[in-house]
Amino acid sequence: MPSPESPDAAWPERLAAYRAQLDCRFPQVGEVFEACLIDALRVLSPAGVSAYIDCGRFLGRMGRGVEPLLAFLEEWPSTAGILGEDALPAINHTLQVIWKSPNGKAITPFLQTLAAVARRLPSREQMQHYLDLTLKLMERTSGSIHGIHKSFASPGLPDFLEQAPTLLNRLAIGGLQNWVDYGIRNYGNHPERQRAYFSLQSADSRAVFQRERHGTLLVDHERLLDLYLRGLWGDSAQLVPYASSTDPAGHSAQADASTPLLPYYDASGIRLPDVLDDALGVSGIDRYRASLAHIAGHRRWSTPLFADNFSPMQRMAIEIFEDSRIETLILRHYPALRHIFLALHPTPAEGACNPATHSCLRHRLAMLSRALLDPAHGYQDAALREFVERFVQTMASGEASSEAVATLALAYVARTRRQSDQLANVHFADTVIAYRDDNRHLWRFHELSDDEEMFDLRPTAAAAEVDRLPPRHYPEWDYQSQSYRPDWVSLYESLHPSGEAALIDRLLDKHAALARRLKRLLDLLRPQDRVRVRYQEDGSELDLDIAIRSLIDFKSGATPDPRINMSHRTNGRNLAVLLLLDLSESLGDKVRVGNGEQTVLELSQEAVSLLAWAIEQLGDPLAIAGFHSDTRHDVRYLHLKGFSEGWGDPVKRRLAAMQAGYSTRMGAAMRHAAHYLAAQPAAKKLMLILTDGQPSDVDVQDERLLIEDARKSVGELEQQGIFTYCISLDRKADEYVHDIFGGRYAVIDNIERLPERLPELFMALTR
């Protein structure tokens, strides 16, 4: 086979020389070497070819079999075509580093996906970024036994390299970096989970992947689009995303690809792609708006037709005419949408389709559609121009109707029909109008067909009875990446089990003296409804005593006091309180009280009972809840008292049954408590957190993580107008509690005084 640039007789000799330079005896190499070399000679300089062969020799001799060499020989010429041949040293360096590590198995996938990656990262900087990222991932996930040499291969690296093109299809390099960092951080020491993560199998891998995608995500803009639909179109359909595996971005790029999934609507709502990139000079959000406008137009103006009467080609034409009718009507309402439609609508070139070899119907219709939208279309075809004119006339009289344009469409098909329209070879280029829906709503069928879409919905088996409510998911703050882990914590709420109310009454009796003292304090706090404000210059009434005194002053020549009025104001407390109790294992610890011993739990019960009683006296709405956690999959939130519940026996029974167990995942519990507190109508909202230790959980090794998460949730609560205050029973709490709550905490060293201190603290806070 002659080389394109050297059709001379010397070719076999040159081939042999290169073969000798490669110096390897794998039989498989012989089969592909010549073809690869011809590719290489086409894009590489002579020096480049030499470097290519040298690198190949290295790969052939490094003792990893023939696969890396084959992958390299096949991939490099096309990669070099994108990146330039001087990118080889950087690649070579990466190969060397991988080779020297125990990760030799990763070389083959690295080389196999190189060209696909290069197509996504065509600049050298981006490619370098990718190489650095690969090495970092390898470095951080390779295991070592004695801490000196890396001796275990990275479990996730080959998976990552295989997925790299898929990932880069949807992520920018920065997003890929975040995704990789997340995997390293969370699954660095867990081989199976690491593999699941890097092969995009695990749920959170996909969740982070979704979050990092580039483009405009439907979920992020659902409200905006909902408002758009409602405001501009008076339509309130549900928006449902579907996964757009290949982004129908530019219609020009779709020439060879299969037709992308178009938006559509059915009984369950309007289906839109889950993500849209900016394309063709139109922002992602405007592309969504264009689709929605089009669909809303159909919903308003289209009436279904019977499909059985038409051939598939006739139907296609009717759809195009109907779409154009809808858009004409849309533009009457919102004329400036035209430039968005024009930008998104393909511009098929006249004569691009050869009717001798291809079916041109699609092309003709796309041209017609363009011409109906764009007055400056410039097409010369006589039939097309005539039908544009007839369409304009049809529409001039008003809204026309689906039937009217269907008639027009049938006439058009009849007029322009060609024998070649029946050819299997369809001209697709520039004919996909990606923002329009697929018009499935336009057709009704006399006879239900046996299409796949027509199956009956099978009745689903009744779900198994669950013994608790489904979980609520909360995010958790990861301070290392400064980002939320989406839906990380599952929180289950339930009513706290009940015990014996008499226990709480006994505890209250024990503190009867304290209660009496508190009562005196409480009376001072109790709101006096109408308060007279005296000494006002402006007020609702004349305060006669003062007025007379001023008059006397005035008459006797002294300066009178002008503040002779008084007014009234109401002095109501408008405060809702939620007391959140940490019910973790450490609550069971014993402390010395006087002569005997008591558990922290008992003291907490006493303190909470007294506080609840005190707040009941004041009349502020109070809720009490407890929480503990057993890994992020099971955070439990237990209701002890609701806002509307009185301080009665049911509440006391629940308090009496309080028990210690499990761990303290504070952030999720606070977020959950906040959603109840935020719903209270009170002007001031206070969340008291009674805890005896720092946030921790069995599935978290990093001590700081849950502390930082709790701190973040305090910030979130503050933004919701909730004042948080922590009462800590941990003497060593100063180390972390300030980080979480800022200055808003009190550490109670002397735990036996808790029952006394807690109500006092509350009163001091709310005075």
Partner: protein, 267 residues
């Protein structure tokens, strides 16, 4: 005696009737029934009352209610003078004496105890006792009480008592329909009918978002502002953003949607 003439409405206010409310009001006035006008902000409640006062040739005393307003702000109070105290009539008392239409705008903003003082004026008694002064005023034959309130934005705390509500004949106002509103914009600001219709359609967009982040839609008053700005040479895009969107919302999504509606409407 207070000068009755100063409260008269001399220039005919522009008012575009929506239905037969003018005739109904005249009937209510003939019977001296107290009247309540309800409706969203800026839909023409106050303009209607002003117009009716002009049409009937009666003086009009308007009180804008607020939550610091007390009963004595309505009825009157003693003031201090060099030689003792002097009684000063409040607007309600003045209206009852001179026979004016007393219009309490946004009555629910006033405290509940305040609204009770109007009760004796609104039933068969038509009297106003001034207990501090020891006087009982019999209302002038021309006196009529009108209150306005906006049921849209009230909280639970701000609602009229049943005992107050059940003393009034009521008119319910809403934004006029598109054609009527266009006419209003044209006559108030002098812009052309096409632009006016476009403004009205933007107003309709916002009104459809009521309850989805907007407490109230864009009022006719704001549309008139926008029209006036456009008439004054401001581009429609800027005028609408300034007069229609920025005043009513701080919500980014809603702002973007309305901005988009403006851009889509004005080519």
């Amino acid at each position: 005696m207070t000068d009755r003439e100063q409260f008269k409405v001399f220039q005919a206010p522009f008012y575009q009737p929506q239905r037969n409310e003018v005739a109904l009001y005249e009937a209510a006035y003939a019977a001296r029934l107290p009247v309540m006008v309800k409706g969203p902000t800026g839909c023409g409640k106050s303009r209607f009352i002003e117009y009716m006062a002009w049409k009937l040739g009666k003086p009009l005393i308007t009180v804008a209610c607020n939550e610091d307003m007390t009963a004595s702000d309505l009825v009157g109070r003693y003031l201090l003078e060099a030689n003792g105290t002097r009684w000063l009539d409040g607007p309600l008392t003045t209206a009852a004496r001179i026979g004016a239409i007393c219009y309490l705008d946004e009555i629910v903003e006033a405290r509940q105890d305040t609204t009770v003082v109007i009760h004796p004026l609104t039933d068969h008694r038509r009297t106003l006792p001034l207990d501090k002064k020891g006087e009982l005023i019999h209302a002038h034959a021309d006196f009529q009480l009108v209150i306005s309130y906006n049921p849209g934005y009230q909280s639970l705390m701000k609602d009229l008592k049943q005992s107050t509500k059940q003393r009034f004949a009521a008119f319910e106002f809403d934004y006029p329909d598109a054609a009527l509103e266009t006419t209003i914009l044209v006559s108030e600001s002098g812009i052309d009918a096409t632009t006016a219709a476009q403004l009205v359609s933007i107003g309709a967009v916002a009104r459809r978002l009521r309850g989805h982040g907007l407490d109230e839609g864009i009022s006719t008053r704001l549309l008139v502002y926008a029209a006036t700005l456009i008439k004054g040479g401001v581009t429609p895009h800027d005028a609408c953003r300034m007069a229609l969107v920025r005043p009513i919302t701080d919500d980014r999504d809603i702002r973007d949607t309305l901005d988009h509606a403006i851009d889509a409407t004005f080519a």
